[in-house]
Structure formats: C-alpha cells, structure tokens
Subunit: 355 residues, 2 copies
C-alpha cells in the first residue's frame, strides 16, 4: 500500500512514528548523541533476553563453531569508535509518493560511541570454510513481514564482515547497550545504513551462497519501479543537516529569529568517504557559500560545520549541502524509489526574520 | 486548526511525532522504564545550558530570595521515588476530532526513578510571603505559542507545591538527567499529568494572585466546546495498558499468536489514588474478569498486572480496564474535549489467534 504526500499520514504509519523516533535536530549540537536522543527504528518488538543465558552462536560453514557468553565477548580486546548511523528510510515521508512504513522526515540519525569486540578475529577463530560467501546475522527479534514469520536477519559478504572497524558492540556511550539499541550485543558496520546494524544479536552463520532473506530480496532495495529488481541499499549517501535557528512555533515547528549575525551550525556525514565540503544557502538555493568545517571526530562520524549569516528582515529559506571525498554531492531532490529509501534531498528551513 | 481521525495525520503533526516519542508498549515489561524509552513531549527545543553557571532562582513574594547552584541542590537531603508520568495529550489521535498538536496514540507514559531535593524545605528557607498564592515554575525552553514568545511556565498552588513528594529532580534512574528530560533540574509532582513537570528549571517565583500564563489559561484545559471556559487538567486519570501479545506484523503492527495458554501482562496507574482493580476482556468488551495485581512499586508508580488467557483460534479483541481507590473507572471511550486531552478510553488490541 502506498500514500501520496498530500494524503497525510495514516494511523499505521503513526503507530510506527509513536514508538520509533528521530533525533530532535537541536541535538546536532552534541558530538556524541546522548542516550535516548539517537534515532530508533525497530521492525518488530524489543525482545526480552536473559543476560546470564544469552549466547552468541557462530556457526554454519565454519571449522570450529563458537558459542560465546557476554563475558566471553567482554574479555576480548575492545575497540571504541564514534559512528554515525542513519536509517535507510530517512526522508521517506518527504517523497511525493511512499510505501506504508516508518514515515521519517529528516531526523533518523545519531552518532554514538560504540564499544565492542572486533568481528574479524572471531571469524578467524571459527575458521570460515573456503566456500563461505556471506555471513548472516540473526537477531532475537521476530515478526511477520511479507506474510512470513521470521527473525530479523541481514548478511554481509565475507570481505565486508572482515573489515577491521566492524564490531560486535556491547556498550554505547560508555554504558551497557540499552534494550532498544540491541542489548546485549549488536553489530556495527560503520558507513552502512541502519538496516545492517543487526540488534539483539543471537547468531552469525557462514553460508556458501549469497543470502536470500527478506531484508535483502524484498526490503532495502533501491527500485525505480515495480518492475525494477533494483539494487541493495548499502552505504549511507551524503547529507548535511542544520540546527533550525531561532525559536520554534508550537505546534507547527516553524522558525522565527531576530535580524543580525546568526551562527548557523550543523553536521554532515557520508558512508562514501569523509566530508570534504559543506555549503549553505540563505536565499532559497539561489546562491551557495562554503561553511567552515569543524574537527574530525572519527573516520565514520559526522563532521560539524558552522556558517555565519547576516540575517535581514523577511522570510527566507535556508539550506545546506554536503560533498564527500568520493565526490558525491547531495542532490536538491533525491531520486524516486518504490521503498522510499535514501532520501538525501536537501533540508530546507524556512525562517521568518524579524526586525 | 483541527483534523478528523479519518483525515490522517498532517506533516506538522508528524514533525512533532518524529521528535517526541512514546514508550513502545512492550516496555511495560520493565518496572522502571530504561533511558530513552520513557515518553517525551517537548513544546519548543531542548535548550542548551552551562552546568557551571546554571542557577535556580527562587524569588518573587518571598522574604529571602535564594540562588542555588546544582551543587547546592545536590548537597541537600535527597529523595528517590518511582513516579509514573503521562502526557495529558495521551490518546489525542484516537479522538474522532482533534486539534493540531502532538498526535499521541497510547504510548505517552513512562515510570522513572527520580532523585532530587524536596521542594518544601526550600520554600521554608525562602520564607513565602503571607500573600503568596501560586508558585510559578519557569523553564529555560522558549518558543512561540498562541502568537506570543514565552518561556514554558506552569504554576502550582502553594499547598500543592508543599506536598512532601514534590521534588526538584536532578537524576533519573540513578544517572544525571538527560538533556531531553530537563537537565540539569526539573520539577516532579507525582500524580499530575506531564505538563506540570517543568523541565530545564530556571526559576520559581512566588506570586500573590492565581497564575494566568498560556499553559493554564489557553492550553491544558478540559473544554467541552469553544464556548466552554473549561477546567484546568491536573491529576492523571486511571488507565491500564497491556503488552500486545504474540508477534507483530510490520509495518501495520497487527498481532498474531498461537492458540493455547497466554499470560497477558501490563501496567495500570492513576493520579487519583492507588490502583485497586484491573479487569481484562478477551471478547471485545462483552465480558470482563479480574486480573491479578502485582506488587506495589511505590505510591505514585504504575502497578503490574497479569491475566491468564486460554486463546482459541480466530480473531478477537482484547481490552483492559483500571479502577482506582477513589472509585474512578476507566471509561470505554473518553469524553470529547477541544484540546484532545485525557483520553483514557480503553486500549483495544485486535489479535489473530492461529491453530
């Protein structure tokens, strides 16, 4: 089922929006998103688990299957890294036509400091068979999607899973994972959209053919139409967001501010490479000027930016645009696709500047 | 501006729903709601503050104005109490006709363990003038509502503010307050709807007449029509919620489960007194049976309940109903009011039971 933007949001979409949530954009002020402000997208229910009996099983096409407790994982060498995660469906409700799903505007993003055990040494320990093609990550979360009951599962090709920055995370911002973020352990694959970051991890199995699960074959594909088989979503496309300046109007969330010098600030990120440039427009995208980039927080974390604006009275529209080191530039409007994914079209912030 | 239920949710309402969020109902399983799962309703933006320069000013009609640092507050005798908070607008989107605001379904609730300094001894120290009528609590959060710029402000009558369980909270679940929950200090008035629990507290002023601010005179009133001046909302009305059983369907969030013995569980609460009874219906509210009540967590915290159900194949509708010690019973449907407040009509959970 689909809806057009002018039809409004249905009650099933609202049921998703009431339980999942975005990051209020003023939280772009924090290098590391505080607990509870990081976006959340949960397909099914948050599953209960027993921390004492929980095990992570690594098996399938391996020579030495492993069964690890939380203590086993914590006892291994740990890595801590700031990683920006974004939902592949971010911006879905801003497309003119969208499927019924989580109706994101712009807020499905966050940057946490993740701590966990690197995955590659665990795969070495299990010794993948020579015919291993994909690794399938299964969560404890179960539900019905596409008419079938299943656990949430996503796979990675062996080479991608062996990247040194791929970790099994058990802490977020220095605290044990919260239930809604995948406690006790989740996968973190920096640079990829959120569907890859399997929460409530139960098992990793090595298989000898490409994975054909629902979240690869049906969902999370960029399809230009119903007849297009499409391609799987993978890395996060470049995006810049700003903190909407001035004061909000309740409930419409329009903005108003006083004329004069205003420091606009925000963050930009891309899964395609480091952010090289952020531009800002204060005249409805007619002209653009470079923002100042802030320090690098980490290879896979968003980058802060600031821009000094001399605001004059009247109504105007602000916008910002990111370019990454691979040369990918954020488009004015993202390309339609049936799943409503990867909408990295420009944020536009109308503001009323008063005398 | 208003909308009817069948019109769907507008983009301004979605902008609220994307940043505020409810508690996923499976989180009813936790006695104390983990960080990030507790509901949030923020009128304006989360304000920044400097923990070193922040002061709480207590003034107005007092003999000895106080100016307190965070350390001053932390140095005082502390109280920790579990308190269930609920937004006065919970259920708004389930009314047939509603104003444009935060479009809650059922999830605007949470129970945290709040730690802070009792307010009454601070008022004693400041020595309220004999003519003091109301105490006005002002937040650092500012916005435009009803056409006027203002800080979020709510007041309490002196006697209510002096209740021994009213605290200035600086910790939630044993951690410093998160930005979105009012850091560094917020008001907690157990039993009252969320609009009372002023976040990002900046000042408390004693005034010699009833407070006439926007959040009392215009918002948060129970008005049966546009000509009804209405009455202010205050205490939370009784409500029971259940964890929707079985497995969810994505994205519709319908439920399915296998026939057999199912333990339904949930929580119930009321600002009018302790919960005395929870009833459950498994046949579309045709018949009701008593649930078993769990232990008391605290005078102002929700109470757990369980109900054993022998589910037989077919489609049925579950419901639950709370009664408090004052004799208030949750209604089938709540009474219409122009603000869409206090919708404690029964939760109805359609489920498909399979063989």
């Amino acid at each position: 089922m689909r809806r057009r933007r002018d039809e409004g949001i249905g009650l099933e979409e609202l049921a998703q929006a009431a339980r999942n949530h975005g990051m209020p954009l003023e939280a772009l002020r924090y290098d590391i998103t505080p607990a509870g402000l990081h976006y959340l997208l949960i397909h099914y229910d948050i599953p209960p688990f027993d921390p004492h009996s929980w095990r992570l099983e690594i098996g399938g096409h391996v020579e030495r299957p492993l069964s690890l407790s939380l203590e086993d994982l914590r006892a291994r060498p740990a890595v801590t890294e700031p990683v920006t995660l974004e939902c592949a469906g971010n911006g879905r409700a801003l497309y003119d036509d969208r499927p019924i799903s989580q109706p994101w505007l712009l807020e499905a993003v966050g940057t946490a400091s993740w701590t966990g055990a690197p995955l590659a040494p665990l795969l070495d320990e299990a010794v993948l068979d020579g015919d291993a093609v994909d690794l399938v990550f299964s969560g404890l979360d179960r539900g019905i999607e596409g008419g079938e009951e299943h656990a949430y599962e996503r796979a990675l090709a062996v080479a991608e899973a062996r990247r040194e920055d791929v970790i099994l995370a058990y802490a977020m911002n220095g605290q044990p994972l919260l239930p809604q973020h995948g406690a006790p352990v989740r996968l973190i694959v920096p640079g990829w959209y959120g569907m890859t970051q399997v929460k409530w991890l139960a098992s990793i199995r090595s298989i000898d053919e490409p994975f054909g699960g629902y979240q690869h074959e049906v969902a999370y594909r960029f399809q230009r139409g119903d007849d297009d088989p499409g391609v799987p979503l993978d890395r996060i496309r470049p995006r810049a967001l700003m903190i909407p300046p001035g004061l909000p109007i309740f409930p419409e969330r329009e903005r108003t501010l006083a004329a004069g010098r205003v420091v606009l600030e925000g963050r930009a990120w891309s899964g395609g490479g480091p952010i090289e440039r952020v531009e800002v427009s204060t005249d409805g995208r007619a002209s653009w000027a470079d923002a100042d980039l802030g320090p690098v927080l980490g290879e896979h974390a968003w980058r802060g930016w600031t821009f000094v604006w001399e605001a004059t009275p009247g109504v105007c529209e602000l916008a910002c645009r990111a370019t990454d080191a691979a040369g990918a530039v954020q488009p004015d409007e993202a390309e339609f696709n049936t799943g409503g994914y990867a909408n990295n079209g420009l944020q536009r912030v109308p503001v009323m500047v008063t005398d």
